[in-house]
């Protein structure tokens, strides 16, 4: 189910309908475990700190080549980065995973690699939040998002350079992320779709889309 939302109010900051849902779910479960695939941010740490959550920062952005947003060493390098930078599954599953716009900078194979690691870190019902670009061109580096009050997010572009966007569509994302069902999807005016995926491993076993 996709919602068209006119929520952009200022450059670099907007009211995020997808993250608003995430924040409500997190606030309802103060002992949640959060896996942040983006870089550590003071405001994000402060936000989850007030909720008493357990936050793990994996910062897979660092696995991307600084010059052009590509993982150093292509897929093999990214697989190694996932092994080294993602937490050990023995440490427990996560309730929420924040992928921000990382997926826009991965190839299809790399998303499959990431999905395999993430499924080991999820439990049934875990939520994955991701922003997918629908623009032809995107910044050469992933945007950095900071959580503001009231379900608002601010974003900054670390690089003025641009690159081609993969423009992943929902049917392809479902194939690349087996076990993750689209729970909500919001189309935003600043060129992104916000996805909220829910991990439902039985959907893989039953073969349902």
């Amino acid at each position: 189910m996709t919602s068209l939302v006119d929520s952009l109010t200022a450059a670099g900051e907007y009211r995020s309908p997808g993250f608003s849902i995430v924040s409500r779910l997190v606030e309802a479960r103060p002992d949640s475990s959060i896996l942040d695939l983006g870089p550590a941010s003071g405001s994000n740490v402060g936000y989850f700190s007030e909720l008493g959550c357990r936050l793990h920062v994996a910062d897979l952005y660092r696995s991307l080549n600084q010059e052009n947003g590509r993982p150093a060493g292509e897929t093999l390098g990214f697989a190694r980065a996932c092994r080294e930078m993602l937490p050990d599954p023995e440490g427990g599953a996560f309730d929420f995973i924040l992928a921000w716009d990382l997926l826009n900078y991965l190839t299809e194979d790399e998303i499959r690699v990431l999905a395999r690691h993430l499924t080991a870190l999820c439990r049934p019902g875990s939520e994955l939040f991701a922003l997918i670009s629908i623009r032809h061109r995107i910044p050469s580096q992933p945007l950095r998002y900071q959580i503001l009050e009231g379900g608002r997010l601010s974003y900054s572009e670390p690089s003025p350079h641009q690159r081609t966007s993969p423009e992943y569509k929902e049917p392809l994302l479902k194939r690349l992320l087996p076990g993750f069902a689209v729970e909500r999807c919001f189309l935003l005016r600043h060129g992104f779709q916000e996805y909220l995926f829910r991990y439902q491993p039985e959907s893989v076993a039953s073969g349902s889309p």
Partner: protein, 171 residues
């Protein structure tokens, strides 16, 4: 004619040619605002513990345990160690876990790879961090946590209804 003053009557030891110059007083240990300092040229391999605040500007490999005192890893400090302190401030580099009894602060120059456990954790813009942050159940920095979450849980149902009403299929 000239009356000797009491000061002149008493010979000053410093003016006596027979006495050796007084030894300069021994310098107290180097400290920074009352804290002990591990200087930038010092490298310690082992466990560091004590009963005072500590500033690390050198390298420590092992464990730093000062639960009742403040620990600062200075800009040139590097620690391959678990660090325990009352308030921990990282301006340099740490590979290890941080256990703050009160706060853990990563400044803009701080780099931490490891897990942080503290009631309050703060990251300044520019800080580099990879690992888990556990605010724990003790204080957790939460303000009115349980009441706020219950209230917001009620709003959640209403917003979802509004979302469904305004939903547009775009397949």
């Amino acid at each position: 004619m000239w009356k000797k003053t009491e000061n002149e009557a008493r010979p000053a030891a410093s003016h006596s040619p027979a006495s050796a110059p007084a030894a300069p007083p021994s310098k107290p240990p180097r400290s920074m605002g009352g804290a002990a300092v591990i200087g930038p040229s010092i490298r310690i391999k082992g466990d560091v513990s004590g009963q005072e605040d500590l500033v690390v500007e050198g390298q420590v490999e092992g464990e730093i345990s000062l639960e009742k005192h403040d620990v600062t890893i200075g800009p040139s400090g590097k620690a391959r160690a678990d660090v325990r302190g009352k308030n921990i401030r990282v301006e340099g580099e740490v590979h290890g876990d941080l256990f703050g009894m009160e706060t853990v602060v990563l400044t803009s120059s701080g780099k931490v790879t490891g897990n942080i456990t503290a009631p309050t954790v703060s990251l300044e813009n520019g800080a580099t961090f990879k690992g888990s942050i556990d605010m724990g159940a003790k204080g957790g920095g939460a303000k009115g946590n349980s009441e706020g979450s219950q209230g917001k849980g009620q709003d959640q149902d209403q917003d979802q209804d509004r979302g469904q009403q305004s939903a547009i299929r775009s397949r």
